[in-house]
Each structure stands twice: as structure tokens, then as C-alpha cells.
């Protein structure tokens, strides 16, 4: 027999710094959790991609092979492969264990801003400065993309995949959602250059941050705006935004060195997390737990809901 569920607690926010990782790879351009949130990937401006353990903060592997700074990375669902993109206009598929380049995909005409696996890691999608999104096949040996989506009129700054949908944000101020199942392309006009787009965890909403220092939550099916979050500063840089793991909060990087947390429903600022003095460049929320990683300059910081005991214990002993 089951007891009734306890009343849901107020969602906790990751406001305690658990550890700081100095990545030793120049500026960290992007930091990403892997599929289960146990590891993180940091994309360095010194052409390297590094894999870290989140819980211990130890480096596990360095993947080198890019010719210029790495801009984005993603891990496959089974943790067997990584993909990364770089300013050298290539997308690389890595083998996690060996650290070898499985495939190097050339074809973009500009630096590649964002890269994502699809759910089964059968396709790599990469968005580039040349305004195209290219769909690379990881299963066959073809080196040409399966399809090139050239609808964007300007650089594709961000891209997300969820099931059968592809969400791209472009500097031409439009959020495009390609619905493969329906064979439709939905274009939402935001007007300000988009820096980052996200799906909500429930897949019903899209989040887009743009250079007018606003994060907007749009209804996926109709394009209506459900929420608008502002207060942070995002005017010149390509910074990330995301949703918390339970869709309770909207998070955004800011150029003033904070991470802003807004309540998703009320739109009120719930927390302004001071990360440092420089620009918070990238952030990533743990897929299940209340855990956040941020990247500022050359450091990656891990934030949790509660201060970690083990460290204190270790310090005590």
C-alpha cells in the first residue's frame, strides 16, 4: 500500500557552488552535460574538447583534432560517441572511449555554431554561420549531408532536437521548427537575433533568447508567447539559456556575470546567481537533478541545491 505522496516541495535552485573546474583549455565556449548528467563536456578555445566527471571534477579524456576553437558538443544517448563542432567548419564524431576521430564531416562554409545528435544518434545536426543546418548520417559512410536546411537567412546560432522535431534559432530573428513527422516548417518571427533556443522538457514549449536581452517562452503549437523574461543582459554575445530539469524555472546567462533564474509561470526573478565578474558564456542544467554547470572564461563551475557533504567531510578529516 502506498502512502499518499508528500506535498511537493518548493523547487530548490542550484545556488551552492559545489566545485570549480579550471579547464586549462582557454576560454570554455560551451559546457554540456552528457545524456545522464554524470559527465560534462567542455569546449575549449584551444581546439580541445574535454570530458569531465561532474561528481569529482576530474578530467577523464581530452579529444583533440579540431583545427580551431570548439564551439559546441553533444553526447550520444548511449555515451558511446560525442560530436563537436568548431570554427574550422568541421563537425567531428568522436569515439568516447578511445578518443579517436570516428568521422570528420566537412561541408559547412562557415564556422559551425551548434551541433546535436538526434535521439538515436543516427544523425548529427549542425548549424553554421553559413546559414545552413546540415544533417549528417552517422550510420553510413557518406560524407555528404543527408539534407541541407538552408531556410535561414543568416547564421544559425542554436539548434535543438527533440524526437521528430528540429528547432533552430537564427540571427535573422526567426525560430524555425522543422516537424519531420508532419513535414512542416514553422517559422516564428522574434525580430531580434536569436542566440539560443530550447525545447521545454515536456516538449510543449520553446524557449528562445535573443539579443534584445529577453528570453521568450513560446507555445510550440501556436507560437503564442507564454512568458517573457528579462532583466539580464544579453546584447552582443551568443549566450545560452535553458530550462530547469522540471520546467519550473527559466535560466539564462548574462553578460553581467550572473545567471538569472525566473519562475516559469510567474515570470518573476527568483534568483540572480553570481558566478563571477566576466560574461557567463554557457550553462547547462542537469537532465534530472537540481544541478547546474556554468562556464565563465576558462572555468567551469558546478552548482547544486545543497552544499555537498562529502567535501565538508573530506575537509573535516
Amino acid at each position: 500500500m502506498a502512502f499518499p505522496e508528500p506535498r511537493p516541495q518548493a523547487p530548490q535552485l542550484p545556488q551552492h557552488l559545489l566545485r570549480t573546474i579550471d579547464c586549462q583549455q582557454g576560454a570554455v565556449r560551451a559546457v554540456r552535460f552528457n545524456a545522464d548528467g554524470n559527465y560534462l563536456l567542455s569546449c575549449g578555445s584551444d581546439k580541445s574538447l574535454k570530458l569531465w566527471s561532474v561528481s569529482r571534477g576530474t578530467p577523464l579524456k581530452t579529444y583533440s583534432g579540431h583545427g580551431y576553437e570548439v564551439l559546441d558538443a553533444d553526447g550520444s544517448y548511449d555515451n558511446s560517441h560525442l560530436c563537436s563542432c568548431s570554427s574550422d567548419k568541421t563537425v567531428i564524431l568522436w569515439d568516447v572511449a578511445t578518443g579517436q576521430v570516428t568521422r570528420k564531416l566537412r561541408g559547412h562554409a562557415g564556422k559551425v555554431n551548434c551541433v546535436q545528435f538526434n535521439e538515436e544518434a543516427t544523425v548529427i545536426l549542425s548549424g553554421s554561420l553559413d546559414g545552413t543546418v546540415r544533417c549528417w548520417d552517422t550510420r553510413s559512410r557518406r560524407f555528404e549531408p543527408i539534407q541541407v536546411l538552408d531556410e535561414a537567412r543568416d547564421s544559425v546560432s542554436s539548434l535543438k532536437v527533440a524526437q521528430h522535431e528540429l528547432l533552430t534559432g537564427s540571427v535573422d530573428g526567426r525560430v524555425r521548427r522543422y516537424d519531420l513527422r508532419m513535414g512542416q516548417l514553422h517559422v516564428d518571427f522574434i525580430s531580434s537575433p536569436i542566440t539560443c533556443v530550447c525545447f521545454s522538457q515536456d516538449g510543449q514549449c520553446t524557449l528562445s533568447s535573443s539579443l534584445d536581452s529577453t528570453v521568450r517562452l513560446l507555445d510550440k503549437s501556436t507560437g503564442e508567447m507564454l512568458g517573457e523574461y528579462s532583466g539580464h543582459k544579453m546584447k552582443g554575445y551568443k549566450l545560452d539559456c535553458c530550462l530547469s530539469s522540471k520546467d519550473t524555472h527559466v535560466l539564462s546567462c548574462s553578460e553581467d556575470g550572473h545567471v538569472y533564474f525566473w519562475d516559469l509561470v510567474e515570470g518573476s526573478l527568483s534568483l540572480k546567481l553570481p558566478v563571477g565578474k566576466a560574461v557567463v558564456q554557457s550553462l547547462s542544467f542537469h537532465p534530472t537533478e537540481t544541478c547546474l554547470i556554468t562556464a565563465m572564461e576558462g572555468r567551469v563551475q558546478v552548482w547544486g541545491a545543497e552544499p555537498e557533504e562529502t567535501e565538508e567531510d573530506a575537509a573535516a578529516t
Binding site: A2, D36, M182, L211, A278
Partner: protein, 943 residues
């Protein structure tokens, strides 16, 4: 039974009374044994025999079967009646129906023997069955179970019962809770007798308490359910569960087919997911269909035998009634209430459908118009074929030969393949006022030449006139020889029309390597043909005559002339492999005549911008297009193709006549389409251009006003000018006049951009320029090692990688080596770079070190103007960079142009009105953009 004791009247008698016993009557003798008789079901006497003969008499008066006795079956096979199969003598051949009967040797009916209907069944079992029957699909129905009774409870069950086992329990020693769990874990690798796996012991109530001294019998195992497959996926397929995907732990799981609760097995049989702890995305595409073409891919899930048990572990679970494949209904009792309400006949193992299947809606056929007469008019196709110059047999042969011919000759197609002028000619209508097809696409001077040629040809009957006026050539081709022209000339004129067509087709085509060689057998002829093609490509109209062999006779030459012209039209260049990669460069010279336009144009951006300003997101800002994903992409995403059988990919495009009337008809609807066909724009139009047009629209009120005015004047000009003057030249002139007013300094750039080089060059240049630009703007970091060979950058980066923050600053100094104060110099450059960056790329990456941003205040009074000046300075300084960037500029060409233009305009307006704040309330982007940048600059400086 009545008695006769006191009063007969008082009793009511029932039944038949026995005969009253008489005192003196002797006792009835029992029938002696030898007189007792037994009859069979047919009334025949059966005699008892001794045990030696089987008890009964077996046949006809102690014989078998008939009077003649029993005759065994004989083998008879004749020509008419062949014995189908040679069947061996079976025991049944020697039996009669009695033997097959209920009491025979081999009874063939379902019978319940004594033993099975015994009362050995325990009450608990009965009760349990009754309860179960109530909960079953058909309430109270145990009919099936009673009908099919188990043959016999096995010795094992008997033994177990003797040992204290009860039905409903598992087998094994009674354990404490924890110990049992360990056992089930540890039992996996053990050979021999393994405890049956604990079934649904994860249920919550058991977790609640576990007293120390109480032991539990292991749980009984539960049989398996077979759920009907609902989806279209293959057996064992399980779709991806995003929730589980995020749980992680995607490690391959041990597949144990023999454990009833094993998740992978239940997945295999489509079981519903239990609350398992496993995470990670799993699921797979299961094989390749027969219809799918590429078969060299790794589609099967990688699997290894180590994930399977090779040994049957443990005994068969369950009660022996069903194997592990038994229906799950025996354990799963949920959702029964719903089913119980349905009192119909539902077989066990079936459930009611969750939702009723939707009936197929049948749409009525369209109603025919009242005066519809079902008569089909056939086209006189033979006439059309004979009219065209090419004999149908030859055309067919050529078409079949290599498939190189993309478009058939229009004459051979049905009426749907005729264009409007051809239809018009067939119908005998007058030509419409407006640009007609071929001449329209020629330059004015060419047209002049053509006209003069026509005049000369019509006056002096030149044997091979080069050209004909389009109307007459249409008429000649379609209406047969015109009345004016003598028949001999008409044939030549027709061929010259073909020549003209071939010229338009081949002119300007670059690819010559892959054209079809129709005269391969005759090398000299092929050479002449290629010469002719070369001339065609150069636009030489006299090429045909020049390429022919002067040594041949007149008849041969005329024949070859016809052949060449026809072959050149039939094997017109495809350019299909390239056309998908390039947007066609629209030089005014190149008269392709059509533009690939996305079928669904984006709506008016002004409206959207207004909606965004009012924060009315939704219908106003949302646009939905039809979009065709690649077939392979759908396969990789594991979804069905939304448009099966459609070979389109991406957004659907339509070919539109570049200067067709329809382009101008759309003027009032959206101004961007009016802007599109303007020759200077159209000449270098790419997908960037539309947005630029739009952005130009929304830039600022001033430029918009200008634009409107220009559009109006253009429209007026078009209206005032004769229809033929919608040509390229005129528009170029009007446009260039406009442009000259506004951007003189952009001229040289444009001229550079006139011709579009191949993609590789573009890529290379674009690449290097972008990287070099980033090099400059992103001060710090990062080196691009490969492209431009900036050695010092490389060194600096490597130095920086080794030593962190000091190296950053060092790097900043290294790049701008002349500056003593990096903190001061830095922001200026930064500003500038921000501007440049945003113009072309939008957001950029933050600098790797904050020290660079927070450089300290710099006095910039008029950042707008100043930055512009700086930009110009910058341009001069980086002239080499400019050159490199040229190609990229082209890509962004219109954009840059417009932005510059608009910026200039805003600048002037700002200076006129004395402040850039004046344009702030205007929603247009360019001013906003500028202000944003200004603010950005200021904020940076204020730091």
C-alpha cells in the same frame, strides 16, 4: 409410499406402490447368472466372455464384424481410383467404431475419466477459481476451465503438497526478506535448481515492514501476458522514451528470456513497462524493409550472446497450467472493472479496445455540373507530331537512348506541356500585349539585330535566314507555312526557329564534359557537332553554318544542319546536378528566363514586426510552410515519410518567369516581391536577398519612404513604357540611376561582384575571411592555425595555453602591438568589431578574459559617427582583407548594402535632427540595432 395402517383417506399417495407382499408367496428367485443378458447400444445381445477374450463379445456372434467375419483392409489401386498415399497399417485400421467409442480401446472423444472428476480438488483451489472467475473477463465463467481439465496433477505437485506447499506460493525454503532478495540476485549464474524469480515483489506493501523473525514463502511466479501488438513496429521494438532517456544508464541490459519479469523479455512481448530502474535511451530500429534501397548500412542493433542465458535457469515457473508464455491476465487484475461491465463474449487474453475504432469517413463524389456530358475529346496527336520537325520515331529513339533529354520537345507532349503562346497559336488567338517569350530575354541590341535580319530576310530571300520574329516563328511552327512565306522558305524558317531555340538553350552553358555525344560513330561529324555546340555556348548565331563542312554537298549540309539542330535541342544541357547547389547567377546576359522561387513566400515582415512590438506573438508571427524532409532523414529519425512518394526535398520551389507579368501583379500584396525582380538585385539574388529586402523594409522610416517612392516610380515607368521595355536593360538603367543617387561608393564593389565564381573559390575565400576577421575581433584567443598562416597568433595562443591569464593580456598586446595601453585601445577595437560582427554574423562569442571587456572608460562622444569613420578607416587599412572578403560580401551583399545605406540615412537624419534618439521610438530594426550597439558600447565603456 403409502401405508395402510389406520385410515386410507387421510393419506395422499405418491408414486406407484409396490406390490403388496403376500405372506405365503415364495421369495422371487434371482435371475441366474447364465440367464442375465447384456445388450449393446444397437440392441444386440452381448455375451460375456472370460477375461481371456476381453470381457465382451467382439462381433457377430462371437466373430468379428459380419457373418463372413472380419476382413482386413486390402490394398486396391486402379487406374481410375488411385490410392493417394501409401499409408502404413496403423492400429486404427484394425479397429471398428466400437473401439473408437467411449469404452473402446482408443476413445476418440473428450472424456472425463473418473480420476479427474474426483473430489481431490481442495476447497481453496475451488474458491480461488471462483474468485478468479468473478474477476475474469466473463464473470462467473469457469466453463472453459471445467471443460478442459488438467490431465493430472503431476507427481511433483503431489509431492510438494505433501511437503507443505500450497497453491499460490512459490517453491523454496521460507526465507527472510533480505536473504531472499540476495538469493534471487545470486541465483542467476547458478546451474541446476534455481529459485524461481521473485515475481512482483517490488510491490510497495512488501517494502513497508519486514519483521525479523517472520519468514515468508517465496512468491509465486506469474505467467506472462501476450499483449496484442498495437503499433506498426516490428516485434521487440520499443520506441524511445525521452523521460527514460534522461535517466541515463544506457548500458546494455542482460536479456534473460527465461525470467518472467525480465524487462527485456517483457519488452519483447510488448509488455507494459513496470517501474524499473533502468535508464538511458534504448530502442532500436528493427531491420530493413525489403523495399528500402540501401542495404549496406548497419541497421541491426548490435547484440552479443553474452547478453543471453545459454542455460535454462530454474524450473518452469507457474502452476504448470501455462508455461512462461501464459497470458498475463492471470496476474494482472487491473482494468478488469471496465471489462466486466461488458457482458458479451470476450475471450480470455483479449481486452476491450481503449477507444473505438474510427469508422472510415466516406466522402461523397463531387457533384457533376448539370450540363456535363461525358465525352472525351482526343487530341489530333498525329498532326502535332508531323508538324514538329523531328520524326516521332527518331525522337522516341533518342529519348530512350540515354535519358539525357530532360525536356521533350513541346510539340510531342500533350496540351498540358504546351506553353501559353503555343496554345494560343493552336487556337488561333491574337498575341497578348506584353513581353513575349524569346525576344524578351535578349538584349536590346540583339533584338535590334534580329529585327534587321528579319527585315532583310523577308525582303531578300536569303537561303538560310538566321532568325525570325518570334510571333512568325511560332506561327510557322504551329500554323504550318504562313501564307506569306513560300513553302521552301518555310521549311528553312522552321529550322531557323529551332536554331533559335537551340541557341537559347545552349547559350552560356559552361559544362561541356558530360553532354551526350549523338554522333559518336562518325568522329568527324561529332567533332563538327561539338564545334557547333561550342559556338552555341558562346552565343554565336552563325555557328551552325560555320561548323559545317564546306566540302560537302548542299544537300548533305542541309541534312546535317537539321540533325545538329535537333540533336542540340534534344540533348539540351541538364545542369541538374549543379542547379541544386547553386542559386543561379542572373546576369542580364544569361537569358535563362526563369527564377527558382520558393513557392511559399514569407509574408510581410512589417506586420510581423508590428506584432512583435505589440508582443502579440502567435498567428501574426507564425508562418507554416510545407517542408519535405529527405527520405533517408525520416528513416534515420524512425518516422514515416510525411510525403511518401514525393521526391521533393526542402521547401517546394516553383520556376517563375523572371520577367513574367505575375511578378508584377503581386505588387500590391507584398512589396518584397516587387523588389525581387529588379534586375540589379535579381542579378545576384540569393536567399539572402529576400531577407535583405525585408530588412530594408523594416529598417527605418526614411529608407522605407524612399523605397516606397522608388517602387511607385518604377511601377509608373513600367506602365508608361511599352510592354517590351520590361526588359532587363531598362530596369537596370532605372535602378542604377536610383542607386547612383544613394551609393556611389558601393559601385566598385558591385562591379566586382558582378560575376559569380564557382563555389570552391567562394568557400575558400569566405572561410579565410571569416577566420581572419575573427582573428582580429576575437583578439584573444585562439588561433586559427590552418587558414591564413598568422604565425604570431599561433605562437601567442600556444603561449596562452601554457600560461593562463597573463598570456591573455599578452596576446591582446601582441595583436595590437603598437598600443601601450591595451585597456584603452581594446574597447575601441572591440566596439568596432562588435559592429562589424553584428552586421554579418549577429551574436559572437564572449572574449575569453573579462579584463579585456572591462577595459575602463573611453571617451567616445559620438560613437555612431566615429565608429563609422573608423570603419572606413578600417576598410582602407585592411584592403587586403577586403579583397578576400569580397566573396562573402557578395553573399551578404544586399544586406551589407542596405544596411550601409540605411545607416547612412539614419546618420544623416540623426545629424539633421540633432540626435539619434529621435528615431528610437520607431520600431524598425536598423535604428534599433544601431542604438543597441551604441548602448552596448556605452555600457562597455561605463564599466
Amino acid at each position: 409410499m403409502a401405508s395402510d395402517s389406520d385410515g386410507d383417506e387421510d393419506f395422499v399417495t405418491y408414486g406407484t406402490p409396490l406390490e403388496p407382499l403376500e405372506e405365503d408367496e415364495p421369495l422371487k428367485k434371482p435371475v441366474p447368472l447364465h440367464e442375465q443378458t447384456v445388450k449393446d447400444e444397437k440392441g444386440r445381445y452381448q455375451r460375456f466372455h472370460g477375461a481371456f477374450t476381453g470381457g465382451f463379445s467382439a462381433g457377430y456372434f462371437n466373430t468379428v464384424g459380419t457373418k463372413e467375419g472380419w476382413a482386413p483392409s486390402t490394398f486396391v489401386s486402379s487406374r481410375q481410383q488411385k490410392v493417394e498415399k501409401k499409408h502404413h497399417a496403423r492400429p486404427e485400421d484394425f479397429m471398428d467404431e466400437e473401439d473408437f467409442g467411449e469404452h473402446g480401446i482408443a476413445p476418440r472423444e473428450i472424456t472425463t475419466s473418473q480420476e479427474f472428476s474426483s473430489s481431490r480438488r481442495d476447497a481453496a483451489g475451488e474458491k480461488a477459481r471462483a474468485v478468479h472467475a468473478q474477476a475474469a473477463l466473463i464473470p462467473g465463467d469457469t466453463l472453459l476451465e471445467e471443460l478442459i481439465t488438467p490431465t493430472r496433477s503431476s507427481v511433483g505437485v503431489e509431492l510438494l503438497k505433501r511437503m507443505g506447499w500450497k497453491e499460490g506460493q512459490g517453491v523454496g525454503p521460507r526465507t527472510k526478506r533480505k536473504a531472499r532478495r540476495q538469493q534471487t540476485d545470486g541465483a542467476r549464474g547458478v546451474y541446476g535448481a534455481v529459485l524461481p524469480p521473485a515475481g512482483s515483489e517490488e510491490s510497495e506493501d512488501e517494502e513497508e515492514f519486514a519483521p525479523e523473525n517472520v519468514t515468508f514463502a517465496p512468491k509465486d511466479v506469474t505467467p506472462v501476458d501476450f499483449n496484442p501488438r498495437l503499433g506498426l513496429q516490428g516485434l521487440g521494438y520499443r520506441g524511445l522514451d525521452p523521460g527514460r532517456a534522461l535517466l541515463g544508464l544506457g548500458a546494455p541490459e542482460h536479456i534473460d528470456l527465461f525470467r518472467p519479469q525480465s524487462e527485456s523479455r517483457s519488452r519483447l512481448f510488448g509488455d507494459a513497462q513496470r517501474g524499473s530502474r533502468r535508464g538511458g535511451v534504448a530502442g532500436q530500429a528493427f531491420g530493413v524493409g525489403a523495399m528500402e534501397d540501401d542495404d549496406d548500412e548497419e541497421v541491426y542493433h548490435r547484440d552479443s550472446m553474452s547478453r543471453y542465458d545459454t542455460v535454462l535457469g530454474g524450473e518452469e515457473p507457474g502452476d504448470g497450467l501455462y508455461g512462461w508464455t501464459a497470458p498475463q491476465q492471470y496476474t494482472k487484475k487491473k482494468d478488469k472493472s471496465k471489462d466486466a461491465s461488458y457482458l458479451g463474449k470476450i475471450l480470455e487474453g483479449f481486452t476491450l479496445a481503449q477507444k473505438p475504432s474510427e469508422g472510415i469517413t466516406i466522402f461523397p463524389p463531387p457533384s457533376l455540373p448539370r450540363d456535363y456530358r461525358p465525352v472525351h475529346c482526343f487530341r489530333p496527336s498525329v498532326e502535332v507530331l508531323s508538324l514538329s520537325g523531328v520524326s516521332p520515331a527518331l525522337a522516341e529513339a533518342l529519348r530512350v537512348s540515354r535519358g539525357h533529354m530532360v525536356k521533350e520537345e513541346p510539340q510531342q507532349g500533350g496540351r498540358h506541356q504546351l506553353d501559353s503562346s503555343q496554345r494560343r497559336a493552336l487556337l488561333g488567338e491574337d498575341a497578348l500585349q506584353g513581353p513575349s517569350s524569346v525576344l524578351e530575354l535578349l538584349k536590346p541590341e540583339d533584338r535590334e539585330r534580329l529585327l534587321s535580319l528579319r527585315n532583310s530576310s523577308s525582303s531578300s530571300n536569303v537561303p538560310a535566314p538566321k532568325t525570325q520574329p518570334p510571333a512568325s516563328h511560332d506561327a510557322l511552327r504551329w500554323g504550318g507555312p504562313a501564307a506569306a512565306a513560300p513553302p521552301a522558305v518555310a521549311g528553312v524558317a522552321a529550322s531557323s526557329g529551332l536554331q533559335q531555340e537551340a541557341l537559347t538553350v545552349w547559350k552560356g552553358v559552361q559544362t561541356s564534359s558530360q553532354t551526350f555525344r549523338p554522333f559518336e560513330k562518325n568522329s568527324s561529324k561529332q567533332a563538327r557537332y561539338e564545334l557547333y555546340l561550342d559556338r552555341l555556348k558562346q552565343g554565336d548565331k552563325d555557328g551552325l553554318e560555320q561548323s559545317l563542312d564546306p566540302g560537302m554537298t548542299e544537300w548533305e549540309r542541309s541534312r546535317e544542319r537539321d540533325e545538329f539542330v535537333r540533336a542540340s535541342i534534344l540533348y539540351r544541357p541538364t545542369a541538374s546536378s549543379l542547379s541544386c547547389r547553386f542559386t543561379r547567377a542572373k546576369d542580364p546576359e544569361e537569358d535563362d528566363g526563369t527564377v527558382e522561387v520558393p513557392r511559399d513566400q514569407e509574408g510581410d515582415v512589417d506586420d510581423k514586426q508590428a506584432a512583435v512590438n505589440m508582443k502579440m506573438f502567435g498567428k501574426l508571427t507564425r508562418e507554416t510552410f510545407e517542408w519535405y524532409p529527405d527520405k533517408l532523414l525520416c528513416k534515420r529519425f524512425n518516422i514515416p515519410d510525411p510525403y511518401p512518394g514525393c521526391s521533393l526535398v526542402g521547401l517546394p520551389k516553383v520556376k517563375r518567369d523572371k520577367f513574367s507579368v505575375f511578378n508584377f501583379l503581386s505588387v500590391p500584396e507584398s512589396r518584397e516581391t516587387t523588389a525581387a525582380p529588379k534586375p540589379p538585385e535579381a542579378g545576384k539574388r540569393s536567399r539572402w536577398d529576400v531577407s535583405q529586402e525585408e530588412e530594408k523594409k523594416k529598417k527605418d522610416p526614411l529608407s522605407q519612404l524612399l523605397n516606397d517612392a522608388r517602387n511607385q516610380t518604377e511601377i509608373k515607368e513600367e506602365q508608361s513604357s511599352p510592354p517590351a521595355s520590361g526588359s532587363a536593360k531598362d530596369q537596370t538603367e532605372t535602378m542604377s540611376v536610383d542607386e547612383q543617387k544613394e551609393k556611389k561608393d558601393e559601385e566598385e564593389e558591385e562591379e566586382e561582384e558582378e560575376s559569380r565564381p564557382p563555389m570552391d573559390l567562394f568557400k575558400a575565400i569566405f572561410a579565410s575571411s571569416s577566420s581572419s576577421e575573427e582573428e582580429e575581433e576575437k583578439s584573444s584567443s585562439s588561433s586559427q592555425g590552418e587558414s591564413d598562416g598568422e604565425a604570431e597568433d599561433k605562437d601567442a595562443t600556444e603561449g596562452r595555453v601554457e600560461a593562463d591569464t597573463p598570456a591573455l593580456n599578452l596576446f591582446g598586446i601582441a595583436v595590437h602591438g603598437s598600443s601601450q595601453q591595451p585597456a584603452v585601445v581594446r574597447p575601441q577595437n572591440f566596439v568596432q568589431e562588435v559592429k562589424e560582427e553584428e552586421e554579418e554574423f549577429g551574436p559572437k562569442l564572449p572574449p575569453p578574459s573579462a579584463a579585456l571587456i572591462r577595459g575602463g572608460p573611453v571617451s567616445v562622444e559620438k560613437p555612431n559617427k566615429r565608429s563609422r569613420e573608423k570603419r572606413h578607416k578600417n576598410k582602407k587599412q585592411h584592403k587586403h582583407k577586403k579583397d578576400k572578403k569580397k566573396k562573402k560580401k557578395k553573399k551578404h551583399k544586399t544586406k551589407g548594402k542596405q544596411q550601409k545605406k540605411s545607416k547612412k540615412e539614419t546618420d544623416s537624419s540623426g545629424e539633421d535632427s540633432g540626435g539619434e534618439d529621435s528615431g528610437e521610438e520607431a520600431a524598425q530594426v536598423s535604428t534599433q540595432e544601431l542604438l543597441k550597439r551604441l548602448k552596448h558600447v556605452r555600457s562597455l565603456e561605463s564599466w
